[in-house]
């Protein structure tokens, strides 16, 4: 039996979590919402993160459009995802929610714009 202490990153509350692991069986205490329990289980079994960054825009009112992975990706893939994001360019206009990279770095997860950038 293994015990791990974590800080929940689900929201800025930052609840202190204790996970007791017995093989694949996990028991979580310290969470104040169901998200906390989900996070703790994931974090000890296969940690994931949402990655946020920005992509260069040409012809827009600003130089960068902010983006995110549409859902969380394995933590080990963060830098692979970033390499594709950094190599990508977009052309204005970009709509919030628009897919800018499909299936980024083989994660099966799309990169979407998180703001609208109009043509300058």
């Amino acid at each position: 039996m293994e015990v791990r202490n974590l800080i929940c990153i689900g929201c800025p509350m930052g609840c202190p979590l204790t996970v007791t692991m017995d093989g694949e069986k996990t028991d979580v205490t310290g969470n104040t919402c169901p998200r906390g329990a989900d996070y703790a289980r994931k974090e000890v079994l296969s940690p994931t993160r949402i990655v946020t960054s920005s992509i260069r825009v040409t012809g827009g009112e600003i130089a960068r459009v902010s983006v995110k992975t549409k859902s969380d990706i394995p933590k080990s893939k963060i830098f692979d995802v970033m390499a594709e994001i950094r190599a990508q360019k977009a052309e204005a206009p970009v709509q919030m929610g628009q897919v800018l990279i499909r299936d980024c770095a083989g994660t099966g997860v799309d990169i979407i714009a998180t703001k609208t950038v109009e043509v300058a």
Partner: protein, 426 residues
Amino acid sequence: MTYHDIVIIGGGPAGLSAAAAARKAGVQDILILERDSVLGGILNQCIHNGFGLHTFKEELTGPEYAARYIAMVEEEKIPYKLNTIVADISGNREVTYINREEGLVTIQAGAVILAMGCRERPRGALNIPGYRPAGIYSAGTAQRLMNIEGYRVGNEVVILGSGDIGLIMARRMTLEGAKVKVVAELMPYSGGLKRNIVQCLDDYGIPLKLSHTVVQIHGKERLTGVTIAEVDENRAPIPGTEEYYSCDTLLLSVGLIPENELSKGAGISMNRITSGPNVDDKLETDAEGIYACGNVLHVHDLVDFVSQEAALAGTNAAAYVKRTKESVPASEGKGHKVPLAAENGVRYTVPQTLNVDAMQDTVTVRFRVADVYKDRYISVYYDDKRVSKKKKKVLAPGEMEQVVLKKSSFAEYPDLRKITICTEVE
């Protein structure tokens, strides 16, 4: 002079939420004044996620969160002026603004909502010795340069201060290929949220050195390095602990200061601890009809709470405007005002006074503690009687706390003189 029922100073998260709430409360004539070229305020550059869990029950990035409130304002057709800077507010609610189209204009407001936000503490406030080379930025400036203007900012980075923006930028710069060598924090505890230490520093193996500060800046044209030293309990550098870090960029994340020049100009009484106005439970300042909310009132950790607080200010400002229009005597709004005292480890409270007669069914009192405490109670006293206590495993200055006071709880205290919020060991 043009008149508007409610004039809102600032079109960031606080101003937008206040506007939406005031409209919902039935006020048609609202004007938002925003100095930037877009609405949304600082959220536009906060491209990381974690916003909106309380408000929308989903995890949004800053721009997405802002877009929801901008959409509310657009749908309600609430007028706003961009690229418009407010130069002065008078105690009787005359607002003077400047923009390119109209020049200098003074308007009369029925009610004013202060929602100007805060700004970062600059290098000049820190007294770090050394030259003033390029490469030293406040964390928020670097964030804007990187996320909106598209600059790389730097390659080898040291961050002074563990405020949330510094932690977020540690991760952001790492993802963009920079090497973040260390985060130095003067205090023995972090100034940021725990979750940000985990997901911004621990995830990327960036060391956090508590009780450390920058004692020397190296480089004349461009920063070439900094010297970091450990500090003693009086925050004085300990000789012999100096360590040199080569770097071309130093980010400062050393605190936020509510931007209250306009409030002071209006003669509003200010709070020494929060650097924001003193307000009652309606979030009204001591200048009648002038309300304050968001980071201009006190610096928040969570935008969700800014939105909540601002909605309250908007609703109350709307009620005030209606009351004055219906010529309800001012005495009806008056009542039994009780001061809130912050004691024994509680640094301040917002609001600072509570009108027991006129309050809503519940009032949320927000506050911060002075140090890191373990296994302490947060207690509420009505005069000398403890009326509630709640045990907290950990309390930290970087995390805002709150207690909710119920109107019904005051029934037995008709002559109440003081409400005290404090921490207690038992």
